[in-house]
């Protein structure tokens, strides 16, 4: 922190930061980039500017504008980066989904399976609008994030119901993570991650001292007492149950990882991380040995090309080829062959399209954008003045980070593939809507955290000790 000056400068402490104009400028930038990408993809695919360009651009701009106005009104001191980055990711996702909609291979594939190939981009735009509507709703209705603290145990029950419900619905694509009502299907796990973060923050805020202080030191680690191990065992058990009955590796990892991160942040005890890693490793190995669906995922991870040759799913193999053929600068939007992935190319595997068409440079940029959202979340947690807000902000950003890691790691072959979606980018209504809600809560917490402290109330002592002279 140094500044060299001449004698025409003045140095003072910065005033209360509002940063709304910065946010507006970044938002304009964040709307222009996807429009540029859209034009690029359209020119590459069909030699002409795509016909829907104006409506997509206007739609995205409208959503961003509404979001910005509501933030300006209801969270004036909020972080200036969260909304623009979320808008940019959402817009890029729309372009990538639109680009995959144009693929003849995917249309042919749907025809072979005797289903109607329907483009996903218009739906995704509607879901984005619903997401922004929920964003606006959260900002307006949630006056103070501390109100959520009242619903600590209610949110626990709601989260458990949301996590358990899909068990009673038929499995789709090998995993029971959907609830189907009428024609609609939602992934409750996406919403559960927010609600569970509320529960963990409320619970740990009350119990953190017992968990942190009542411990014995052993081999450089603080071992918690047996009875304090209760909650982590319960959460571990639940996530194992999810893994076994719903065969959903992603939600299970997210759920348990989130709890370990929040335990660590609340108690500052490294031992929780060690325990968490050991327990999740033990649980994953244990389940993988006797659950055939998980077993096949692990096989596909260990040797994707052997699985593809043996007639199994070639998704991971195709995704790895896509990343490889992208190289450093990519093939250009609309000029890759990532649609060879086939099923789920525009949802779980959308990162492979980024990897092929934007290359290493584009993928790194995208991951940095996710990193920036997480960084702003952690920064909000550092700045927050109340312990509940701190834990909530860290929990939400940890959930976001774990989700990105689990999906990106799965698609790139770092860890076994899980059925989760890339936040904001992947096609899927639940994911987009839930992540807009997540960003709304982070913005609300950051508004409270960055708001300048109120002036101290004038003391009444001065009035009481006034001397009355005759």
């Amino acid at each position: 922190m140094s500044s060299s000056t001449t004698n025409t400068t003045t140095i003072s402490t910065a005033g209360p930061p509002s940063r709304r104009n910065t946010e507006l400028a970044m938002l304009v930038f964040a709307v222009i980039i996807p429009v540029f990408a859209y034009a690029n993809a359209g020119l590459a695919l069909s030699d002409e500017m795509p016909s829907g360009m104006l409506s997509y651009g206007l739609g995205l701009g409208l959503l961003a504008g509404v979001g910005h106005l509501v933030v300006r009104k209801f969270a004036p001191y909020a972080d200036p980066l969260l909304l623009p980055i979320a808008t940019l990711l959402n817009g890029l996702g729309l372009v990538l989904i639109w680009r995959l909609d144009q693929s003849r291979r995917l249309a042919q594939r749907a025809e072979d399976a005797h289903t109607v190939f329907s483009p996903s981009a218009p739906n995704q735009l509607i879901y984005s609008a619903l997401g922004v509507a929920l964003f606006v709703g959260v900002l307006i209705l949630l006056k103070d994030h501390r109100l959520l603290q009242r619903y600590t145990y209610i949110s626990m029950v709601v989260a458990l119901i949301l996590l358990i419900l899909p068990m009673f619905f038929p499995a789709r694509f090998g995993a029971r993570i959907w609830i189907t009502i009428g024609g609609f299907s939602i992934q409750p796990g996406e919403f559960a991650k927010i609600i569970i973060a509320v529960f963990f923050s409320g619970y740990l805020m009350v119990k953190r001292d017992a968990l942190a202080l009542a411990s014995r030191r052993f081999m450089g680690l603080y071992l918690p007492r047996g009875r304090d191990l209760g909650p982590i065992l319960v959460v571990w058990g639940i996530s194992i149950l999810i893994l076994v009955f719903e065969t959903d590796l992603g939600t299970s990892l997210l759920f348990f990882g989130l709890f370990v991160v929040m335990l660590y942040v609340a108690t500052e005890r490294t031992s929780w991380i060690v325990f968490g890693l050991l327990m999740s490793a033990a649980g994953a190995v244990g389940v993988a040995t006797f659950e055939p669906h998980v077993q096949s995922r692990v096989d596909a991870w260990l040797d994707p090309f052997a699985v593809a040759k043996a007639g199994g799913s070639d998704q991971i193999a195709q995704a790895l080829m896509a990343f490889g053929s992208g190289g450093v600068f990519g093939t250009g939007l609309g000029q890759g062959n990532s649609d060879l992935i086939g099923f789920a190319a525009n949802s779980d595997f959308i990162l492979a399209t980024v990897g092929e068409e934007l290359g290493l440079a584009g993928t790194m940029g995208l991951l940095l954008l996710y990193g920036l959202i997480v960084e702003r979340g952690v920064r909000t947690a550092l700045a927050a003045r109340d312990p509940f807000g701190k834990l909530l902000a860290i929990g939400l950003s940890a959930a976001f980070a774990i989700q990105v890691f689990v999906v990106a790691g799965g698609v790139m072959g770092l860890i076994p593939l899980t059925g989760m979606t890339m936040p904001f980018i992947a096609s899927g209504g639940s994911s987009v809507i839930a992540n807009w809600a997540l960003v709304a809560i982070l913005i609300k917490v950051s508004d409270t955290a960055r708001r300048p402290a109120p002036m101290p109330a004038p003391t009444t002592d001065a009035e009481m000790t006034q001397v009355v002279r005759p």
Binding site: N7, I11, S12, T22, A37, L43, L81, Q335, G362
Partner: protein, 175 residues
């Protein structure tokens, strides 16, 4: 569409994407650094990379004080080159000493604006005398200026590293 156009667009898109990331990091950077550097008058030389400096341009008053050039002072061995705030709300701020007078106080046109309940609006000034020796002078402040532990009554030469205390703020000169 020609190959060339598409290549240009492809690289252009990556450039724009990265530009967004870099601008975002710049926004974070201006969030992290707590002090605000304001330009007074028309001469803009201080920090061209600070976006807030431009925003504050309108609030300027007072023409720049005449610059006193110290020809002999800067070349001397052992002469201080910068002023460092080591305690208080502006901790970590450094100001290069280039022969100009540095004013301290709560007034908005001071070189270093102290956000301190114990500081007067024109509290003290630090200036070089004819030999290039830096002098601190209390400008009749309410709570006094302290060099080490003694309250200043007359303009006093400053030794390198000697703490000058104004309220909760401590500054010192360094090489």
């Amino acid at each position: 569409m020609s190959e060339l156009t598409l290549t240009v667009m492809r690289l252009g898109f990556l450039a724009v994407l990265w530009l967004f990331v870099i601008v975002a990091v710049q926004v974070i950077r201006s969030d992290l650094f707590g002090t605000r550097v304001t330009q007074r008058g028309s001469a803009r030389r201080g920090g061209p990379d600070r976006p807030q400096a431009q925003q504050q341009q309108q609030r300027q008053q007072s023409a720049p004080p005449p610059q006193r050039q110290q020809s002999g002072g800067r070349g001397r061995r052992g002469a201080p080159t910068k002023l460092v705030v080591s305690e208080g709300t502006l901790t970590g701020t450094t100001v290069a000493l280039q022969g100009q007078t540095i004013t301290l106080g709560r007034a908005h046109d001071s070189t270093i604006v102290l956000d301190d309940d114990y500081a007067s609006s024109r509290h003290a000034r630090i200036y070089p005398d004819r030999d290039g020796q830096w002098i601190v002078e209390d400008l009749g402040s309410t709570n006094g200026t302290y060099l080490d532990r003694t309250r200043l009554t007359t303009p006093t030469p400053i030794q390198l590293g000697a703490p000058i205390r104004i309220g909760k703020t401590v500054i010192e000169l360094r090489k």
